[in-house]
């Protein structure tokens, strides 16, 4: 791989020449360069979204700060210098795919901390650390680490960074990269993403292969600027997989940062995929728009967990399309603190008959925070025998919190069972009274009730390390509340 240095881009400087140069510096194969230019053409035709549009009325697209930020891709050590004028070296610090770095159960990696333990919250590091069967780490827009357990590689599982995938697995990647799950023709942000994306992961599980150990993808920010990262997951017929995506940063970074992540999950017929997306940015200077699109083929099963605890303005949209007989369960646990503005917008589309879906999102809100749940359940004509339900609950823990829950339904077929429920309220005085009357101090009682509220979601997290980690994070948030 040749080493080429490239400069950071800005939105204003985006034209064919700049994109071509960017693409060359990233070492793209021809097809990917062509796709970027196609996306650029689409971008020019589309109108940039404003917050007067329904889809953006709760999160102003200006929060992406794209007019201010430089789009960055820093290779090398994550604690390298700041944003302006850094010369980048693509291709640095990548492991060659297929190299056996891990054996199952082996403690994780060299690059700083293990994936799910960057010092937030109490609790033993070991208990909340995940030992993945594979890991891709992306820092500030460049992949720094790729590792896959030998035995998984031997069974045909592929885990590589995006650039390698585009070159060496074009046959698998080219037809699927932003064509089906997240096409860019009508969406300004997706078109921008396709034009600029610099790093990410490609994960492929062949027919019938059951990957028992979770695979990890970490997206870390340490400096200012905007980054675009992509995760493409293809799980073939009858296979199974658990993917844990973590988004994190140190508590202090040198300037405002924006991360645009797109995850495409193609769940094959009868396959089973579990996706956990943890938004645990340590700094509130990081704003994040996360697009998640799952296409679940017939009889496929998909389970999504979205956990949002950190960041400044975070907008996550976990969307799912269900084909015949497919199943999807979407769960979300959100905790918003002062100054945080979260939006969770899930669109579940029943495109074909006899599919089943549930959605359960819960949020706790402290003073000065905002959370919006927007759930859109679309049942297409012909989707007979649909069984769908959505439930959203906002638990308001202080004054000056702003909670919104908008569960939408668009039903175009009559043979359906569809229901949704939304509730907003505070900690039930009765519950508190009951506990206090049994000698439990008020603060502890409140924490018990809040944990009880989230228990329904936590109980369904099948990855123990993640569950323990969430519990620890909740504890930490609630501890902040004591003495307010």
């Amino acid at each position: 791989m040749t080493e080429t240095s490239i400069e950071t881009l800005t939105l204003r400087g985006l034209d064919e020449a700049a994109v071509t140069a960017w693409s060359e510096a990233l070492g793209d194969p021809g097809w990917l360069r062509a796709r970027r230019l196609e996306a650029l053409a689409a971008l020019d035709k589309l109108e940039r979204p404003t917050n007067r549009e329904e889809a953006w009325r709760f999160t102003d697209p200006k929060r992406a700060g794209l007019d201010r930020h430089r789009i960055v891709r820093h290779a090398g050590r994550p604690d390298a210098a700041g944003a302006e004028g850094v010369v980048l070296t693509p291709g640095q610090a990548l492991l060659t795919p297929g190299q056996a770095v891990l054996t199952p159960g082996q403690a994780v990696l060299t690059q700083g901390q293990a994936v799910l333990d960057h010092g937030r919250g109490p609790g033993g590091a070991a208990a909340t650390r995940l030992d993945p069967g594979g890991l891709v780490t992306t820092v500030d827009g460049a992949t720094t680490e790729v590792a896959l357990a030998g035995d998984l590689a031997a069974r045909g599982v592929i885990l590589t960074d995006l650039a390698t995938a585009a070159r060496e697995h074009a046959g698998l990647v080219e037809p699927r990269f932003m064509t089906t799950a997240a096409p860019f023709a009508d969406d300004w942000f997706l078109a921008l993403h396709a034009t600029l994306v610099t790093a990410g992961a490609f994960l492929y599980v062949p027919r019938g292969v059951e990957v028992e150990v979770p695979i990890g993808a970490e997206f870390r920010r340490t400096t200012a600027g905007a980054t675009f990262a992509h995760t493409l997951v293809v799980v073939e017929e009858g296979a199974s997989l658990t993917l844990v995506q973590q988004h994190d940063s140190p508590e202090v970074i040198d300037g405002p940062a924006f991360h645009h992540g797109v995850t495409e999950l193609l769940v094959g017929p009868g396959a089973s995929v579990q996706h956990l997306s943890l938004q645990e940015w340590g700094s509130e200077r990081v704003n994040h728009f996360g697009v998640q699109r799952a296409e679940v083929a017939r009889q496929g099963r998909f389970r999504s967990f979205v956990v949002t605890l950190g960041g400044g303005v975070v907008r996550v949209s976990p969307d799912v399309v269900l084909r015949e007989g497919a199943e999807a369960d979407l769960l979300g646990a959100v905790f918003a603190d002062e100054g945080q503005k979260f939006e969770h917008r899930a669109t579940v589309t029943h495109a074909e008959p006899h599919a089943r879906s549930t959605l359960l999102y819960k949020a706790g809100l402290l003073g000065g925070s905002r959370n919006i749940f927007n759930g859109n359940l679309i049942i297409c004509p012909g989707a007979r025998g649909t069984d769908a339900a959505q439930t959203m609950r906002n638990l308001v823990l202080s004054r000056h919190a702003h909670a919104e829950a908008n569960p939408f339904l668009e039903i175009l077929n009559s043979d359906v069972k569809a229901a949704h429920a939304a509730a907003t309220g505070r900690v039930d005085d009765l519950h508190l009274f009951y506990l206090q009357s049994r000698g439990v101090p008020r603060e502890v009682a409140r924490r018990l009730v809040v944990f009880g509220f989230f228990e329904e979601i936590l109980a369904q997290v099948t990855v123990p390390a993640v569950r323990r980690r969430l519990e620890a994070a909740l504890e930490a948030e609630l501890a902040k509340e004591v003495g307010r």
């Binding site: 917050n51 009325r57 102003d60 200006k62 929060r63 700060g65």
Partner: protein, 113 residues
């Protein structure tokens, strides 16, 4: 609270609003009328829309979206759908300088403009 210079009088048109953005989240609307210059938080209390784009008449500014009119001196809306008052700030005009008495955090942001 601290006095910060937010604009110049000669640049403010009468009976019209001028938006001063302090950050992604905070902005102040400067509105000049025959009686003087007023400063308010540049956001309607009904929906997230700048009051600086509104119509100024009779000591009030009307939000473009749904027609609620806010009294420039007190910030109170006269007609629904807005029900909560918008925050106003004291203004001093010194020659051509328009000075606004802002809370500390906003004043800090303003200094960095």
């Amino acid at each position: 609270m601290a006095w910060v210079r937010l604009g110049s009088l000669s640049e403010l048109e009468t009976d019209s609003g001028h938006r001063v953005e302090l950050s992604d989240d905070e902005a102040v609307a400067l509105i000049r009328t025959e009686d003087g210059v007023y400063a308010l938080v540049d956001c309607c209390t009904h929906e997230d829309y700048p009051l600086s784009e509104g119509f100024v008449e009779d000591g009030r500014v009307e939000c473009v979206l749904h027609g609620s009119c806010f009294d420039l001196a007190t910030g109170h809306p006269d007609v629904p759908p807005a029900v909560a008052p918008v925050r106003t700030f004291p203004v001093k005009v010194d020659d051509d300088d328009v000075l606004v008495d802002l809370p500390e955090r906003w004043a800090e942001l303003a200094e960095n403009l």
